[in-house]
Amino acid sequence: MIAIPRFRAFGAPLGMTFRFRSPVPGSRVARVVLLAVLIGACARDASRAGPSNALLIVGYDREPDTMNRYATHILEDIQSCVVEGLVTNDEKMNVVPVLAAEIPTIQNGGVVLRPDGGMDVRWKLRPGVKWHDGKPHTSADVKFTVDAINKGDWKPESTDGFDRIASVDTPDSLTAIVHYKEVYAPYQMQFFRGTLPKHLLDGRNIDKANDYNRNPLGTGPYRIVEWKTGEYVLLEKVKEYWRGPEYPKIDRILFRFLPNTTTRINQLKSGEVHLVALVPWDKIRELRALASVRLNQVLGNGYEHVTLNEKHFPPFQDVRVRQALAHAIDRELLVRTILDSLVTTVDGPIQPLSWAYEPNVKRYAFDTAASNRLLQEAGWKRGPDGMRAKDGQPLAFTLITQAGFAIRENVAQTLQRQFRDVGVNASVKLIDGTTISSVWFSGEFDAMLHWWQSGADPEITLFFASDRTPPAGRNINYFADDSLTRVLYASDRTVDQTKRAELLRTAQRRVAELVPELVLYNTAKIDAVPASLRNFKGNPTNAGPFWNVHEWTMGSESLNSR
């Protein structure tokens, strides 16, 4: 904290420059400045009302492109306060029903495998739910949503899963039977983004339906009352929310758009905003001292790792080289120093929160002796400069990562140093956020430090199946293993959760043996919330921390342990 006396020290040279002409104008200037500052001081009190159940101010890192949950490609925090899904997932990544009365499974008869290889999912909707305009929410809305997305005359972000639906039957207003052409294991999250209101959108071009896209009709606890472009979105509570008159507890939520991270954190410190979701890890330390703020941390459903592109840098095709690199990394050191112990190391692509997580996989401890031995075995010999080469080709590659991401830049440099210790020459290259996506999609890189953030379903086929290299998937390791590919596809065709988990556990063990990528640590999700906010739980996935916003309430500070 900068104390006032230091400000005096700033001012001293300025005073001196004025002094040797005439002291009078200087003091006049000072008086004007003082006056201006006083006016400011009077005005600012209003802007710093603390958080209350009357108003909660959120500092948000970006302005949404659209409020249509199916069309946006960024986090849906604002949208999910307004438009509810049939399901969502909680802070432990359990799938929980929202507009659905229950989650259909094989056990409860909600899912039926057909002899022709397809499957039927029976969604029972919660009775008594109304859209904000008073019309009932029905199975016709579910059918309309599927038809609208499959019709393809507008621009939903993803049609994943929907394209496998042949048709939807609506035997009554609260039952929708979804007929899949094939078995589709992640069916539970199919309507996680909710439904489109048929009575409002039927027969319209949804891309052009700006009344809906800017201010969607939902069933959620809030509605949008104002969207001031470039400044904020204001949400106001819905009076007749289906969960009952006691919900939601907070009257109004204001999302202020503050794309500059430092500005956003400064506003949190000054009290101009009350809540900042997903605080960048390098800002956590300065927020710890802030009494008005509590840091809520949950495990994330994502993992930081180094992708090893076997197509672009063929030495990665040798499993001994990949294992050697894994042994060369001191992950504990990274976590303890650069990451301030905010995250925990993990060993595979499926995260500990998932029901499919396999803890008993092969681990690669920090062991430079083992690393050196493996590289030696693989034929990479140290030269006079200590760096390894084989047949005149040096073991040298470029590690790319996203620029402007302070922690990642530091981690990349540390990895560079740790690889150098075993004779591997990695050079770090920083690439801006928009460009890096097209770089990895085209496969034009050797290695990349990044993370994947996934939804609650544990599908990993698109990252590891040998035929899912871009453009068909996200296997940017260009890694191919037949037995792994077979297991992954089998898991996609297994709806029974226990059996699917077994297959995915086998897959995780196989991935750990073959090290297609260097897994570093779990991506913890840390939200800065008012110390007095109760029932805030956070969320490991892109469902976002606002999934239970109806329960949030401002209590007395003493109720919270800090």
Binding site: R44, D45, E157, S158, N266
Partner: protein
């Protein structure tokens, strides 16, 4: 009249060339409006292809340029790739905030420049201080100064709001003025630093002219010579510089707007750039080019009208 017409005729091919260059550069930048979609594992290649077709990004670049140009000159600026709204609507809603910020900052910077510039031309002590101040003002990065001012006046002292255009609660006139103080200071410092040096130089030059000596010989006081004669002469080139800089500032308060979350077209530009929102970027850059061309044209015409010597030369 013929002078103005000739300058206008030159502007049109210039703008055409700019549009071609800008279009080429924007599309040459790696990534496109869809590249951010790739980060979501659930967006599949079929989705990318489908969206590309829907946005007509699958057409050859020349076709895209010609169809953009044809619509643009007809006043149809297209739709934003990011949110699907008309580009004109997105631009227009941001203009007032930028005009307010840039207008006030320019005014403040001009007043400061005149006071400091004239003072520096007259008094050696002021000159030294002003030149140190100017070097500091020119070399301090705008985003750094902005963040330091936020830390000091907003976080530590709590006197001023750190960003935004108005408080959500209690946003009266005083509140709006308080929100202006920091961004205006940052922008004004950056410009006054250069302009005051420029004005000081012009005043010095004017004072070295024979007419100044003639006035001195007649016993006119130095202050009077500066204020009545030298300053008037010096303001001519100064006005040109201010007009040109203001046109750049009108489109280019990009950094300041981003640091202070000011909802102007500068922050729209930052956003559009990150998302490779081609239609918004093109419209923004064309407006910026038109502003620069127009204001430099106005500066020429103004000098032409004010200074009889340039009239004789043409």
């Amino acid at each position: 009249m013929s002078f103005a017409a000739r300058r206008l005729a030159q502007a049109i091919p210039l703008l055409l060339i700019i549009s071609l260059l800008v279009f080429g550069l924007i599309h040459a930048a790696p990534g496109g409006p869809l590249s951010l979609y790739l980060d979501n594992p659930n967006v599949r290649p079929e989705d990318i292809e489908r969206l590309k077709r829907a946005m007509r990004l699958d057409k050859p670049l020349a076709t895209q340029y010609l169809s953009w140009l044809a619509s643009f000159v007809r006043g149809d600026w297209g739709y934003s790739y990011a949110d699907g709204r008309p580009v004109t609507e997105r631009m227009l809603e941001r203009v007032p905030a930028t005009l307010q910020l840039v207008g006030i900052s320019t005014l403040v910077a001009v007043i400061v420049s005149i006071v400091v510039g004239v003072g520096a031309a007259l008094r050696r002590g002021v000159d030294h201080a002003a030149s140190i101040g100017a070097v500091a003002g020119l070399s301090v990065p705008v985003f750094w100064l902005g963040l330091v001012l936020q830390l000091l006046f907003s976080n530590t002292l709590g006197w001023l709001p750190s960003s935004g255009r108005a408080s959500f609660v209690g946003g009266g006139l005083g509140d709006r003025l308080a929100h202006l103080v920091l961004p205006v200071t940052v922008l004004a410092v950056a410009h006054a630093a250069g302009w005051s040096r420029y004005l000081r130089g012009s005043v010095r030059l004017a004072l070295a002219q024979p007419f100044a000596n003639a006035a001195r010989a007649r016993g006119v006081t130095e202050t009077r010579i500066v204020l009545r004669h030298a300053l008037r002469l010096a303001l001519l080139p100064f006005a040109t510089v201010v007009l040109l800089d203001a046109s750049i500032m009108a489109s280019g308060a990009v950094v300041t707007e981003s640091v202070f979350a000011w909802p102007g077209i500068g922050s729209l530009f930052t956003e559009a750039l990150a998302k490779r929102d081609y239609t918004v970027l093109m419209a923004f850059l064309m407006c910026a080019s038109v502003a620069v061309v127009t204001l430099s044209f106005l500066a020429d015409v103004a000098v032409h009208a004010l200074d009889p010597r340039t009239r004789n030369a043409s």
